[in-house]
């Protein structure tokens, strides 16, 4: 592999000059620039990025920590990040945190030891205080899906409350008044917010929130079937169901059908997240779109701007969900 030295010899200039034309950050006469370019071309020269990093103290790489590599949600996020970063010539190093504290901490240390210029983190288990401490080190980061007050300008979040509101509103507008709700685990902020939105929508339409129609679950499909079973056992009627995510909606749909309920005629259902299989369900699930790909893209732009001083982006911290109408809601 040709080095900068080979180029300088062939072009008959110094190392420094070659470096200058590569980074074009200093004045080089057009004539020598051409000589150098020609030499590079002839040698098929490729700068050694490792050496560049060592010398410049910049790795041009950003570390990404996601909970899992697997699945629609994270892959959409990664895809948004990678595309944007790659376009700017940066690259991504990826680690998984598996939603537990020690893996998350390990992952972060790993990424830092890899000399990442910045981090994009989707962490769940680590504490706010840990993140605040981390912000005092010299590796800047942005947080996706996590709101830490004192770091808020580096946080990118979805307006979950609004999403919860929209889901329930869509149901209410079709005339439903007896509406059950399957929630995510309430220790999670997003589950809380979605529920808050739900309640607000009910209030706006003058419908009382009824405790018996509510069940807290765990965001999984099996949680959905179990919750549906519980709801049905109570023997109180309801014509619609809002689920705090699509997984649970899928479970609830299976269980409903198993119990002989005709979907969507006897029961309207709405989900949340718009995961990929939502439109493969039967009936096709109406749900709330979670623009995670966009949010990943924004995270990338945020580091491009804050860390690499590429100033052409408008930054945005809060993303708005929107309602996706399909076939799972019927007027009453």
């Amino acid at each position: 592999m040709a080095t900068i030295y080979d180029v300088s010899v062939l072009a008959g200039v110094s190392l420094a000059t070659v470096s200058r034309v590569m980074n074009n950050n200093a004045k080089v006469s057009e004539k020598t620039r051409q000589k150098v370019l020609a030499a590079m071309e002839e040698l098929g020269y490729r700068p050694n990025t490792i050496a560049q990093s060592l010398a410049s103290n910049r790795s041009n790489s950003v570390g990404i920590l996601v909970s899992e590599l697997y699945g629609y949600f994270y892959s959409a996020m990664l895809s948004g990040i990678e595309k944007e970063l790659r376009r700017a010539g940066k690259h991504v190093i990826i680690a998984a945190g598996h939603s537990n504290k020690s893996d998350e901490v390990d992952g972060i240390e790993f990424l830092i030891s890899r000399s990442c210029d910045a981090l994009i983190l989707h962490v769940e288990a680590v504490s706010d205080d840990f993140l605040i401490e981390l912000s005092k080190t010299n590796t800047p980061f942005v947080l996706i899906n996590r709101q830490v007050e004192s770091l808020s300008s580096n946080c990118i979040v979805l307006n979950n409350e609004q999403g919860g509101y929209l889901a329930t509103k869509a149901i209410l507008e079709q005339g439903h008044r007896k509406i059950s709700y399957i929630s995510g685990p309430l220790w999670k902020r997003d589950a809380q917010d979605r529920l808050t939105g739900h309640k607000k929508a009910l209030a706006d339409y003058g419908v009382a929130f009824e405790e018996p129609l509510f069940v807290e679950s765990d965001y999984t499909e099996s949680g959905g079937v179990e919750s549906m079973r519980r709801l049905l056992q109570k023997n109180i009627s309801f014509s619609a169901l809002v689920c705090a995510n699509d997984e649970m909606a899928s479970g609830a749909m299976s269980e409903s059908r198993a119990q002989g309920i005709d979907l969507p005629n006897e029961l309207s259902i709405v989900g949340f997240d718009n995961v990929v299989f939502a439109r493969h369900l039967y009936p096709k699930l109406s749900t709330i779109e979670y623009p995670i790909n966009e949010m990943g893209k924004m995270a990338a732009q945020m580091v491009l701007r804050n860390v690499y001083d590429i100033d052409k982006f408008d930054l945005q911290n809060l993303f708005e969900p929107k309602f996706i109408e399909r076939d799972s809601i019927r007027p009453i």
Copy 2:
């Protein structure tokens, strides 16, 4: 950040000795080792991986090229790769090739310029000759889902023919004899192989392959609905349908239902790939499992063994699919 120099001073030894205990590749007396370890601990020393790479000409990183970051298939593959590599202290750099030649070539060059020690490639557009040329450079690679004869020991592939065989066999065993087939694009090797398996199964059961029951499509959901429409228009009856992937099966199911066909009673369907939404379909789709996560893991092990000389793995090039029984096939 503390450097190896700081450690050596504090421990009262030379740089070289510190390096030796880090890499424990040379004899160091237990006493000095302890001194060094203590010094590292005290300083919170973290080796600078960039400098290590430059000096050792090893980056401890492996480049991954996938067609897309987005979606279950690739995320499952990445997840398998990352987990295995990370455990060995290597890390992954990821690029996307978008199934087109120029992006694939760019991606590969990008990864090489990042000094990856090895590559794991899932490429579709690039030619065999290109890959053969690439194998002459000094960056070794393994190929997932691609068979190149002269590189076969570095190829990891699924036995697609066997998968096609199993899918059709499952249908045949339920007594079906009029079986239609929606194929993937036949310029793709996997589509060919799956079809070959299908034909072989038919032959084994003494059923003739009938051209009118065959349609070539494109592996997409909309291709599935369109193909189903074409099949139905022909007005020849069939009691079962095998689809060369789950996407098309999903499309075919929607279209069938739209045309008033009662699934699975009037039509049995089998898919291929076992993508995540397969079990969310209604009826839950019986399909062929594609162990892509395992294959990713194997790719990582291959690199670990061939490039990093970690010798504890049994390598395997061919993976066997298996039939997943769910609710979409009924006896005739």
